[in-house]
Structure formats: structure tokens, C-alpha cells
Symmetry: C2
């Protein structure tokens, strides 16, 4: 059911201030309209979340894992209504949305297995050494605890997998934190359907009502009030650099500053090494254009920058990529705002004196259509104007011609922090690539070879993060199981009576978790 409600725990409310979703493929306003949550709803949801925190954080591993699975089941149970609505609100093709649903429930279930296993507790025991000289050592035990209520800001470009029940929500709930989602106004119906699924799982599992709240809205004030609320202890965000930095600022100015995990901006350099470029430039050009234009280029990991050493092989790549792009049909972008930003970014590049337009995609008269754009410049120009390194969200990329590997290295060294860097290398390129890798590793969260950065696996080894401005906190990831650590902090217990110890570090290891004893960690349970 979609009726535009705010969900403050188990309570449904309607606000008098309303907003509507639109179908970006037509520009048409969709029904029904939605409550625009105000500061009263923020305060009430935060109070409920705070009240829920101790009990939710104390749930045993099985209860919490089952809850995550119940959310997944409830999302699947919505059925076609969810898929239809998400397609309508996002302009994304149906197979993509179906795949995204699979990813969303898959990551909830993956976090359930992570919760059950218990490695994330980092249970650590330094046994007492009563006879140690000159001083005895007390019994010391450390465990990770949930930080408190978490505010989640969903992304426009993943209405399911990075939104109401997306990676931030899944990892925060897995960590034991109540979650308050600020719904993205680009997909309010999708958001409400998923929010109701989570709320139903909270009720089914008998958890405190404040474990989850959902605040739809289209104002910056709503998000600002949520981050400023003293009961919120961490923030997850995926979106623009401006939006992320605004939240970081609010969080840092609180009486108690809190961490903001904002995934913001990346142009994802692709480096074509000489041997690979010479051997398979045409294939690379075709695959590059496919990655660039997939989903109208609306991925954080979209390859927006190509670096290579100038020469005939690069000329051939540019020609082939331009030819491929010119045949790509336009695709509907997520919102009129995103489309307008894309058009503006492309126009700025097209008008830049040091930039040549290689090709555009097929033209169109449709609403909010992304027409692909490929530009060509040289390293001197790129190094001279940082604006050429700014993200243009959508299917736009800049090819930077470098004189030699030294100049290419200078370009890499000057790059801002990135989510990904891609190397196309053949065996003959490995020596040069090895030289570049340490510099790249200092700039990015994920380095991939002979593939494309779009398509982010949800797994244990994934890092979807990177130094600023890729994210506001390069020590972690927003995709994959490592994300749970964003919402945990360690607490040490010294000489506590056994009956007062948290279960994970208690004397009988009732949860059967792997513990580190005197510095030696046990293997994970299977």
C-alpha cells in the first residue's frame, strides 16, 4: 500500500505539507502525493529510536539475523507492485530493477549470515595475569557495540539497493543500531513500500517499534534536522558532493560531533596501458562505451576518465569509442534535476577551449534523456584545470592523452580520491603498472584489472569507498560486509564479574564466536 504516510516506528502519520513523485520518462506527476515530514516527526522518530536502542542492540545473533531475513522476505512479498513502482519512478528498465531487488534482498541475507557468525564482534580477551611482576594484569575483554541510532539517506540512483532497505540500512541494523531513513523524494512510492516491509518485519520479530522509522520528504531542512538531532550517532549517505558535505558540516557542528559516511563523487579513472591498448583497442573501446552508458551512466563507479599514452593506438581507440557511442540510444535519467546537471556538465566540457568533443550518442526529443558524451583532451590541459576532473553524473567521459608514462603518473598523482581505478594491462604492461600501483592505492578504494568499474559485488572483500571526496571517510566501505564496522565501536571490560559480561565475551562463549585470546585469534566458526 502507498498512501504517503510517515512511519514513526509503528505509527503512521500524514503531514499537511505534500510532495509528489514524477515519472521521469514523461515528466508526469504520479499519484498519490506524499507527506513531507517535518521536524516534529524527526524528534519523535529519534526519541523512539533512542528508546529502542538498548533493547535492539541487546538482541541475540539469531534474533537479529532472522529480522534481516524477515525484511528480505517482506520485500520479496511485495511482488510486482514494487517493481512497477520503481520502474515508473526511476525510469530504469524493468530487468535492472528486478536485478536490484535481488541484490537488495541478497545483501540483507548476507548480513544475516555475518551477524550469525559473529566475527564483527571482534571478541578479544586478555586473561588476567595475577602473578605478573611488577604489576599483575587484570582480566581485560573487548567487544564491539552498536553506536546508537543511525540516520540513512538513500540514493536516487539505486531506489532499492542503496535506499530504504539498502546497504546502509542493512549494515546499521546488522550492527545493532536502530535506523531512521530519510526517504529520497525521487522515488517516494518505492520508498514507502519498502519502509512498510521493514516495519512489518519489526512487528513480526517483536522488536521495539523505534527500531525503524521512515521520514519521506523533499526538503533539505528535514535531513539537516535529522543529522543535528542529538540522539542520532552516525549517518549513512549516498549522493552528491554538495549534499554530503552539507551533512558533514552539520554533524561536525553538533555539541557531540558524529561520523558521517557519505559516498559522494568519483570519476573512476581507466588507464589503458600500451600493450593492452595495442593488442585490443577496438574491443576495449566497445566495452568502455558499454560501461559508460549502462543505466544512463548513473553509477558512482561510472568510468568518467580515460588515461593513456598518446599515439596511433590511442587514436584508434578514440575513433572506435566515438563510433560506438554515436550509435548508443539515449536513456531516461532518474530525475529532471539530474538530467539538467548532466546537460550543464556536458555543455561546460564541450565549450572548454582545451577539450574536443569526440562523439555524442543518438539525439532525442524525449524527456530527461541522457545523450552520451565523449571528450578528448591532453594531460597538460587536465593538470592545468581541476574542473576537468569534476564528476559529471551520467554517461560522459573525458579521454586524457599523456605524452609518456611520467606524465600519466603525474595525472594520477594529482587525482582526487576515487572509488575505483581500472587498469587495462597485458603481460608486457605489468612492470609499468606495478610502478603506478602504490600511488593508485593511495587514491582509490578499489583497483581492478581488465574489466570495468560498474558492477559492484556485495561480498567480504569489496571496498566501495575511497579517500575524499570519493567519500567523507576513506577508512571504510558502503558496499560489502565490511560496512558493518561503520556502526560499531569497541568497549573494554576490565575485571567484570562474569555475570555482568556481554555474552560475546562471557566465560562460556554462549554465542560460539571466534575470539582473540592473548592476541591469537580463533578461526571463524563455520
Amino acid at each position: 500500500m502507498i498512501d504517503g504516510a510517515i512511519l514513526v516506528g509503528a505509527e503512521q502519520r500524514q503531514a499537511t505539507t505534500r510532495f509528489s513523485g514524477i515519472d521521469p520518462s514523461t515528466g508526469a506527476t504520479l499519484t498519490p502525493d506524499f507527506s513531507s515530514a517535518g521536524v516534529d516527526a524527526v524528534a519523535d522518530a529519534a526519541a523512539l529510536a533512542e528508546a529502542a536502542f538498548v533493547d535492539y542492540a541487546a538482541t541475540d545473533l539469531e534474533t537479529r539475523a532472522s529480522f534481516l531475513e524477515a525484511i528480505a522476505d517482506a520485500i520479496v512479498a511485495i511482488g510486482d507492485e514494487l517493481i512497477d513502482r520503481a520502474v515508473q519512478e526511476s525510469g530504469l528498465p524493468r530487468p535492472r530493477i528486478e536485478g536490484e531487488r535481488g541484490r537488495t534482498v541478497g545483501q540483507l541475507r548476507l548480513f544475516a549470515t555475518v551477524v550469525r557468525q559473529g566475527d564483527w564482534l571482534d571478541a578479544t580477551i586478555d586473561p588476567a595475569l595475577p602473578d605478573r611482576a611488577p604489576l599483575p594484569r587484570p582480566d581485560l575483554r573487548r567487544v564491539n557495540v552498536a553506536v546508537g541510532p543511525v540516520a540513512v539517506f538513500g540514493a536516487s540512483n539505486f531506489p532499492l539497493a542503496f535506499s530504504v532497505a539498502g546497504g546502509d540500512t542493512a549494515s546499521a541494523l546488522a550492527a545493532g543500531c536502530p535506523v531512521i531513513v530519510k526517504g529520497h523524494p525521487a522515488h517516494p512510492g518505492t520508498g514507502e513500500l519498502v519502509a512498510r516491509a521493514i516495519a512489518s518485519a519489526v512487528a513480526k520479530c517483536g522488536l521495539p517499534a523505534g527500531t525503524f522509522s521512515y521520514l519521506p520528504g523533499d526538503t533539505n531542512d528535514l535531513g539537516g534536522a535529522l543529522v543535528a538531532d542529538p540522539r542520532i550517532k552516525a549517518v549513512g549517505f549516498t549522493g552528491s558532493r554538495g549534499g554530503g558535505l552539507a551533512l558533514v558540516k552539520i554533524a561536525s557542528q553538533r555539541a557531540e560531533p558524529i561520523p558521517v559516511y557519505a559516498e559522494m563523487s568519483s570519476i573512476n579513472p581507466v588507464i589503458l596501458f600500451p600493450a593492452a591498448l595495442a593488442a585490443r583497442g577496438d574491443a576495449l573501446a566497445s566495452a568502455f562505451v558499454q560501461s559508460l552508458t549502462m543505466g544512463a551512466g548513473q553509477f558512482c563507479t561510472n568510468p568518467g576518465l580515460v588515461l593513456a599514452i598518446d599515439g596511433p593506438a590511442l587514436d584508434a581507440f578514440v575513433t572506435a569509442a566515438g563510433a560506438a557511442l554515436s550509435e548508443v540510444r539515449p536513456a531516461t535519467m532518474l530525475t529532471p534535476g539530474i538530467h539538467a546537471s548532466y546537460e550543464k556538465g556536458v555543455a561546460t566540457l564541450a565549450q572548454h577551449g582545451a577539450v574536443k568533443t569526440v562523439a555524442r550518442g543518438c539525439s532525442t526529443d524525449g524527456a530527461n534523456q541522457a545523450v552520451g558524451a565523449l571528450f578528448d583532451t591532453d594531460a597538460a590541459a587536465f593538470l592545468a584545470d581541476s574542473a576537468l576532473g569534476h564528476e559529471v553524473f551520467g554517461s560522459s567521459a573525458v579521454i586524457v592523452r599523456c605524452k609518456d608514462s611520467a606524465e600519466l603518473t603525474r595525472v594520477v598523482a594529482q587525482l582526487e580520491g576515487q572509488l575505483t581505478a581500472t587498469l587495462h594491462v597485458d603481460a608486457g604492461d605489468h612492470a609499468e603498472a606495478a610502478k603506478l600501483l602504490p600511488t593508485l592505492a593511495g587514491r582509490v578504494g578499489r583497483i581492478l584489472a581488465n574489466g570495468w568499474p560498474t558492477g559492484v559485488e556485495v561480498s567480504h572483500a569489496m571496498v566501495h569507498g575511497g579517500p575524499f571526496p570519493a567519500t567523507s571517510d576513506g577508512r571504510t566501505t558502503s558496499v560489502g560486509t565490511l560496512a558493518i564496522y561503520r556502526f560499531l565501536r569497541p568497549v573494554c571490560f576490565q575485571n567484570l564479574p562474569a555475570e555482568l559480561l556481554p555474552t560475546a565475551i562471557g566465560p562460556d562463549n554462549a554465542w560460539n564466536v571466534a575470539r582473540r585470546i592473548d592476541g591469537i585469534r580463533e578461526a571463524s566458526p563455520r
Copy 2:
């Protein structure tokens, strides 16, 4: 040798601007005088650190561990000159300084064992699944890498263990980060001796000169320039709330904001539960005063707040603690500035309308002497005036009388973040303590029972951290082996050719580290 030099890598410089240390027990100026490093030295040290970073971060585990041990050896080899100078500059007793040297070299050696073991790399492998439907999974491998050059600000109160070669330096070097230490002006001779020991270990181990630099100085501008330098990627600090927050602000305003790990301010509540208080109030009073006055109270974990339910048992405790304190002889404080702040803080409490002075320590005419101070108030007054919860660095404590356990819980819930909380409990108190524990765990980094918070073990389970303002980043610790993670970030490698992979996640596990494969972590190597 002490000659007042700045150490910019292997280069020794003298600055024309000079400052001097003093002997706080007499107020006398000590010789020689010292260079006050300027922004030129900051820039040169940062450039050297950046140049050293890739090579130092790439050192194998044995090389890096041996380097940490070489530093420890070099510190021990200084011998009595170090002890004499530290005693002279700090006013701390010789046995305390000797013990602190042991702790300093002990934690360097502990980090060497941590480095060798390699668990901190968090080597994680999700093997490729080429036949997975609908899409194959690539080979994904994740490893922790060093963040880059780290700035360390030593503490006045631990001239060895939290200073030039203290916990921040040890953990940053262990992580693979070059370190630039801003020397504390309270112990410049001690600092220089230790800095030369580290520089000698850098040379002995054949490491890049920029692996370590030492910038003595007594200006805030020096520290500000260091944190603002774009080549610095993280900051470790132990000191005042004002100092820490100033660095946090500078770091957040950089073009690339960086993490600041500032350990700042804590009053370390001690909660006397009814059964324990009734059974052993006198013994608790005596032990409390001993913890309060140890080292002139100049510990981050000094017990500055006592909470208990009002009644005859608490009356008896207060009387006994007052009597014990009145016999404690004063002790020299670290600096005239710290002494002046202590006197001011004590005077503010003494003049507070809702606060009664229970006792003062023995009076004195000596220079910079801390005379202990014990105050008594009630929960209503404490809840009404947040100033009563501000840290007074030194041997001053406030006892807060609560009407009942509900009021005590309200006091705990209103506390700012703390490094520690101490429970004195007997079996009959466990039920009440259990109720309070979740709230406490949300406020503090370490909870201890039936002991005293002073005395921080350097081990795997230790957390010397806590929510703001105890630290600027409550997700970690500045004491113990967990501190290494402050200076690491994860990087994922996708489908990289085997010869391009970092050793820790390479195909033959040449370092023999524990790896997490498909989510299942191996046991630590022994």
C-alpha cells in the same frame, strides 16, 4: 646528546627562534635552549615523509617489526641521561619515569609482534566464481594499507609513553606510516633524546630518511601548519579539549579533510553501589584517594567523579576519603600552566554555591604543587550545571550524592563521553549494575569493576578511547594494539594479475598471514 636541533629526516637543523624547558619543581630554566621549528621545517619534513611513504609502507613485516624493536633498543641505550632529563623536565618521580620507559619500549615491542603476525592486514579473499549465474563473480581481494604520513602530538603527562616514541608513533609506524612528531615544549630535552633514538633506528634499518622527523616548538602555529599540510593524512593527539578541537577544526577545513584522533577530556566516573559501599566503604575511600592523587592526578583516567546513593554509608565514605586526602602530601605538577589551570579549576568548584569542600591535601609553599581537593554535591546540582562535569586536570574530584538509583541513572545518562567508568559492586549489586551497563557502555570506552581507572594496560583488549569529548573519534583507542587500525584503510583488488597483487593477498601467502576466504577467517598464525 641534546643540542636543541630540529630533525628533518636525517638532517639536523637549528632555528634562530628558541625556547627553553623548565624544571617545574623549582621553576628554573633548563639548558640548553631549543629550536622552535617554523613552517619551513614543517614543509620540508612533510615533503620527506611523502617521499618516504611508498617505500616505508612497502617494507615487509620482518623489516618493519625489526625497526620498531631497534627504536626500543635505542631508547634503552640512552640510559640514565634519558631518565634524569625526564625527571628534571616533568617533576615526576624517578621510579615513575623508569616504569614509563619500560612501558614505552614494551609497547614498541608489542607492536613489533603485531606487525609480524599480520592480522592487522585483514587479508580477505573472495575467490572468483566464473560459473555463477546470472553473472560470474570476479576475484576480489582486500587488504589494509597505510594511510600516509601521520602527525603526532605528544602529551605533557607522559613524556615517554605518550610522546615522541609513544603509542601514537608506535602504532603509526607499525601501520606503515611515516611519522612527524611535534615535540611537546614541556619536555624538549627528553623529546630530543628519544627523537635521536628513532632517527638512529631509521638509519640502522636502512629506511628512507623521511620515515621520521621531529619538530620541537612552543607555538600553536607549528602544530596548525603540520595538520594543515596536504601531505599529512592523519593526526594523533593527546592533550586538552581546546587543543584537540583546534586541530580537528583545522583538519576538517583542509581541501582534503583528514581524521584526527584526539584524546582530550574525561572525568572517569566511579560508581559506588550500595552493597559494596556498605561492606567496604573505608577501604574504598583509601584506595580512591590513592588513585586520585597518584602522579599529582595528572592522568587522563584520573577518577574525578564519584557517584553513589546518599545515606550513612556514603557519609562514612566521604568522611574517610576526606581524612585520607588531608594527609596526602602535595606533588609537583608538570608545568606552571597545568598548575595554574588546576588551581583555577579547584577555586571554581570551591566557590560554587552548591558545592561543599570536603577536604584538601597538605598545604605547601613549593613551586607548582598540586594540593588534592575533594568536593561534595548532590545530583540535582550536578544535573543543573554542566560546569560541574568539566575536567579539572589534577587531583580534584567531586562526589555526587544521588537520592536513589533512578537519579543516579539520570546522572549517568547525562554524562558526556568518558574514557572509563568504574563500578564498585558486590554480589548484591549485580542486578542494579546490569541495568546500568548498557547506558554506561554507550558513554565510555572502558568499564572496570572493583578497581581504579588509573593504570592503563597496553594489550589487545584495551580501549583507551570513548565517545566525544573523551576523544574526537570514539571508534578506536590510543592505547593497545587496536590503535594500529587508526592509520590503515582498506583497498580492494579485483581480478589483478597475480604478480601485481600485494604480498599479503598474493597467491602464495608468502607472509603466512591469516586470511578470510569467502567469509571464513583462518586462525592467527602462532
